[in-house]
């Protein structure tokens, strides 16, 4: 089952189109990375999913139902621009936000207690938000996003403002939420987080979706059968009908690193076999595109061919 399907979602403003016929499919129980440069339309899409604004065209389905007002309780949203009522106490604030999401007062109380314990901040109940540090307030905000046990959690740059220790804590909680059956939409610029956490990704650029799919599949799509080899000595010739030497750099002494593109159909093992005969191989690795590489080249507006070239040369 899919957690969320958007079909041809379009949003136009007076002078520009914020979203142009965006269709994405978010499978249940996955971490879905929504990527794109600033101003691409990610926030607009997230706001439409949260029913903060309406789309001009297109439809949205959440867990098989048409998205309606009653679904707000199923969604937890952590906006990029964090904010809480400064003068309100942590406990009262969480209670208020939980009730707005449709929890009863008693339910809300129980959940808040559990979460404050999880983060070991039970004694913060009576503290005013303005007296908390930025990182502390972020924790409170994270709790407010997940305390009503939403099936769909939307996190916009969730790690900004956290130190590495707390970022790890949040990562653990996110994975725990996924384990417990939540679907998580992740909007971020940090490619290392995407690499380590996301199962699926979509890339939005200039109001359009330009790429979507499981992370592995996306990476495979941009595989170019290129291998990075470290070897001793460089006086060898590759069979030109099967290989192309993309570049070669000295590392230390007579140790070199070469990028070798093999003709389609030649597998890694065959490449090793061929290399062993002509040079002393120190390391061998297939060159896979990083998410950062894919992101940058696609956003720069280079076509698939240019992308492949870029990836080989990088």
């Amino acid at each position: 089952m899919n957690a969320l399907i958007t079909t041809d979602v379009t949003k136009r403003y007076a002078n520009h189109t914020a979203l142009d016929s965006v269709s994405i499919t978010i499978p249940e129980k996955t971490i879905y990375g929504l990527l794109g440069p600033n101003g691409a339309g990610k926030t607009t899409l997230i706001r439409i999913i949260n029913q903060i604004i309406n789309s001009d065209q297109g439809s949205i389905e959440i867990f098989g139902e048409r998205l309606q007002e009653k679904h707000v309780g199923m969604i937890g949203y952590l906006p990029e621009e964090r904010g809480l009522y400064k003068k309100m106490k942590v406990g009262e604030q969480l209670l208020y936000l939980a009730q707005l999401k449709g929890l009863s007062k008693k339910q809300a109380m129980d959940r808040i207690k559990i979460w404050l314990e999880k983060f070991e901040i039970k004694d913060w109940w009576g503290k005013k938000v303005e007296d908390l540090s930025k990182g502390m307030a972020q924790k409170v905000q994270f709790i407010s996003t997940v305390m009503h046990e939403p099936k769909l959690i939307i996190l916009d740059e969730p790690f900004s403002g956290f130190d590495p220790v707390n970022a790890q804590l949040i990562t653990d909680k996110i994975l725990e939420l996924k384990e417990n059956g939540s679907t998580i939409i992740f909007s971020t610029h940090r490619m290392e987080t995407v690499e380590s956490l996301c199962d699926h990704i979509a890339l939005i650029n200039k109001s359009k979706k330009i790429l979507e799919g499981p992370k592995k599949q996306v990476k495979d799509q941009y595989r170019s059968n290129t291998f990075v080899v470290e070897h001793r000595g460089n006086n060898f010739r590759l069979p030109a009908d099967r290989y192309e030497l993309m570049n070669q750099q000295p590392i230390e002494g007579d140790l070199f690193s070469s990028s070798i593109k093999a003709r389609d159909g030649i597998k890694g093992n065959q490449v090793i076999r061929d290399l062993i005969d002509i040079t002393e191989v120190h390391s061998f690795q297939e060159k896979l595109p990083s998410m950062a590489d894919i992101f940058i080249s696609l956003v720069k507006g280079e076509g698939d061919e240019a992308l492949k070239k870029h990836l080989q040369e990088a």
């Binding site: 403003y13 604004i53 309406n54 906006p79 009522y85 936000l97 009730q99």
Partner: protein
Amino acid sequence: MNKIWLIIQREFLTRVQKKSFLIATILVPLIIPAIMGGAVYLMIKEAESAKPENLLVLDESGAFKLENSKRFIIVPVSGPIEQAKKAYSETNDFGLLYIPATSVNDPKGITIYTKESQSIEKIGSIESMINNIVKDAKMERYNVDKETLKDIRNTDIDFKQINLSETGEEKSSNTFLLYGLSMGLGIMIYIFVLVYGIQIMTGVIDEKTSKVVEVIVSSVKPFQLMLGKILGIASVGLLQFTIWIVLMGVVSSVVLGSFGLKMPQQQAMEQVTAQMDDEAKEEMESQAKGPAVAEFMDNLNQIPFTKIAIVFLFYFLGGYLLYGALFAAVGSAVDSQQEAQQFQFPVTIPLLIGYLGLFMFVVRDPHGPVSFWLSIIPFTSPVAMVGRIAFDVPGWQLALSMILLVGGFLLTTWIAGRIYRVGILMTGTKVSYKVLAKWFMMKG
């Protein structure tokens, strides 16, 4: 609906729990009667301690026989004028009155010299002393004898004002009393709408600058948030107002009681109990000391307090809702208090017009055309109609004004809601009226 209720609760509780609310709620009713009491006390003291001042008079005509008054002791001096002026400048006396050799029937060139500019009241009293002498002289010329003159002077008519209603019922009315009531109610509405309207605006700006608004509108519709805020703050206002009235009543009766006076409400209450209880009524009548007091109480009794209270409450809320929505829209459009000022001003102008209209037209001529229109147009009607209501407004006018006010606040709430839903999510935009219009037109 349930969510609006949650918002109302939060807006109400966070404000009521503030120390500033507690302080304002308790101090205002203590301070206002204290100021009133202080003013009365000082006035009485001053009246007691006021001593008559010397007025030097150089009368070259010899025809003006001025007498000492409460304010002035007449000190005749001798001329010529230059010498008298010099003599005066060496004293601390009030002034030098110079009457040249002129005819009492047609005096010319009378001049008063003082060291500083003096109050109209004092100068006026000197002028009227001279006027009276001239009048007397004229009377004598027309052969009016002194006794008749004295009798004419002592005229003090007993003037009653009675409103004849369509049903033929007679109501005596006391213009002075109505004047005060009308002014007081109008001012209260003005202050209430302004103070609480600005609270709404500040609240919206706070939510916007602290960014919490995005979280909230992911749970509720922007319109629900706006309405919840407006209603929550209204309930704070009503609570504060109720406490003020009760506290002020208690404190005022204590303060005025120490001067031997009674609060109008207290007297009205006595009236009410008297009507219910014949014995008490007789008792009260026996307490009424003179016809003047009885008349005052009668007038007070004629004022339809219940009607005024209901109308007041209606316009109090209607005006607040009408302007509250506009203040919410202003708050949503801007990023800071400073930025808000440029839009806050146009919103307050119609309110200010109603307020000025209250002083310039409504209390002077409550049934004149300007007063009529001010009390019909929704933007000025909360202040103007409440100002008029004490003067018995025809039923159809009241009904028309109320319907228009309801229509007015529905309209402003609708307009404000459309601006608000877009504005709260826009930060860092340079907002102009054109931008506001665009937001208003934006669909979805």
